[in-house]
Amino acid sequence: MNTSSISNLADKAMPEPSTRKAEAPSARNSTPQFNVAMAAAGEQNATPVIVEAEKVDLFYGTKQALKSVSIPFHQNTISALIGPSGCGKSTFLRCLNRMNDLIEGCRTEGEVTLSGENIYAKSVDTVMLRQRVGMVFQKPNPFPMAIWDNIAYGPRLRGIKNKAVLGEIVEESLRGAALWDEVKDDLKKSALGLSGGQQQRLCIARALATKPEVLLMDEPCSALDPISTLKIEELMRELRSAYTIVIVTHNMQQAARVSDTTAFFLLGELIERGASAKMFTDPSDKRTEDYITGRFG
């Protein structure tokens, strides 16, 4: 890679300091061009792939909703899926933990692997799969029960009965979702009494309680006010160190703020995918450019 360290801006996005130092002396002689994309592209290679979609086709009856979509998701990264309504981004998200199985007439082809194993294999238990690949939805959907019980629900399902152990999981999950301090004295109160933003963080805590490896978020902030939205975004950046996150969002600024990589979908096809820093300053495809600059149509 001929990227030289012309600008300090590059530092953040550069793969490793050691490689950069090694490149520095020769950089003067090589073509000096600072390309955000090239620099940032190194970052996504830093961690191993945890989830990989390989040529995924999806049909609702006879209508094809996804056309040969292939995306690798790297560990401890946040990937945003963007695109206009009906482009297939949510459908694709739901492929990653087989939520589409619940839709009648829906047929998926191709392969999705989680840590190398095909999640569409017959032997896969979808309940177990969804514990490993958790999901947070557009509208906060707490169970109509106490905060404590909401979080303990999943672990109990897994057979954990010891109250002390459950209590630990509840606290750990609520702390993980940055909600503990706000609710620690009201754990027995109904979750429905929480604000929208708190309810959404409760749902994230509930997903964390099953110790997932991957978190799928389907427009997690679209029903929230700006401050709650920022809290969730901040939380995502924190969760990133322990989880791999895939988020569907209609909010381009949000995708730009939180994600490491962005994938743009259009009419069931993956048009372009790359480092968010590149996608939002210099996308390669004209259709991506038109969409993110608001000239789509």
Binding site: A256, F280, T293, G294, R295, F296
Partner: protein, 252 residues
């Protein structure tokens, strides 16, 4: 179909403002050099006073740019355009400052006869101003080749500036009573050399807007390779250079 009509309008207004400022500072340089050659004090003073107007336009453009960022949240090419505009406006404002600098040189030399009639300085001025005009033209016309050419032209400006420096030093050595005058004229040459540098900066921003790549066009060795990759021949730029030195005043 244009969805963001209002946004598009604001972007083109921003561009028009930049061009307006560009024309203004180019004209200021024309007047400043004219005043220096003819030792026209009144005109020199006018150039100095008029620089306030350039500052006003600059602040206006900066406010508009910040507003666009806040209210429209531009992305991709639009974002590069707005970011580049912020940089370009500063370069243009500095170019204007240099016209005022030359006005001040004229003012300080009032009443003195020149050692010899200034020929190289007007030449240097028209070369630098042509670069500014070309840089702005490449901005409006999305012309990467022209942007690269602007950066190339900077070499000729540097050479001529060097020549003027040598000449002035000769003057100082041979006639110590001319030291002050020669020093002031050196400052004028230096100001014009900076104008060409700012024009190159603008060209680099144009290149960034068009390609998404921040590239130091000014560094000759890279410029050379780039020039070839754009399909321009060595002879092309020499012709272009000659044209640029032959020409008088230029505007985008």
């Amino acid at each position: 179909m244009i969805i963001r009509r209002n946004f598009e309008e604001q972007l083109s207004e921003l561009q028009e403002d930049l061009i307006r400022l560009g024309r203004f500072v180019q004209e200021a340089h024309g007047k400043a050099m004219d005043a220096l050659v003819r030792q026209d004090l009144a005109l020199a003073k006018q150039v100095i006073v008029d620089d306030d107007f350039a500052d006003d336009i600059t602040f206006g453009i900066m406010a508009r740019t910040t507003q666009l960022l806040a209210l429209q949240q531009p992305m991709a090419r639009d974002l590069r355009f707005v970011a580049a505009s912020l940089k370009i406006v500063t370069d243009l404002e500095r170019i204007g400052d240099h016209a005022s600098d030359i006005g001040k040189v004229t003012r300080s030399l009032a009443g003195q006869s020149y050692a010899k009639p200034p020929v190289d300085l007007p030449q240097l001025s028209s070369m630098a101003c042509k670069m500014v005009g070309d840089a702005l033209h490449s901005f409006v016309q999305h012309d990467i080749k022209l942007a690269v050419q602007v950066a190339r032209d900077d070499d000729a400006v540097d050479d001529l500036c060097e020549e003027i420096q040598r000449e002035m030093m000769d003057v100082m050595r041979s006639d110590s009573s001319r030291v002050e005058q020669a020093t002031r004229l050196l400052l004028a040459a230096r100001a014009l050399e900076r104008v060409a540098d700012h024009a190159t900066n603008i060209a680099e921003q144009v290149y960034y807007v068009e390609t998404g790549e921040l590239r130091p066009l000014a560094r000759e060795e890279h410029n050379h390779a780039l020039f070839a990759s754009l399909g321009l021949e060595e002879s092309d730029w020499k012709t272009h250079q000659r044209r640029s030195t032959d020409n008088g005043q230029n505007s985008p």
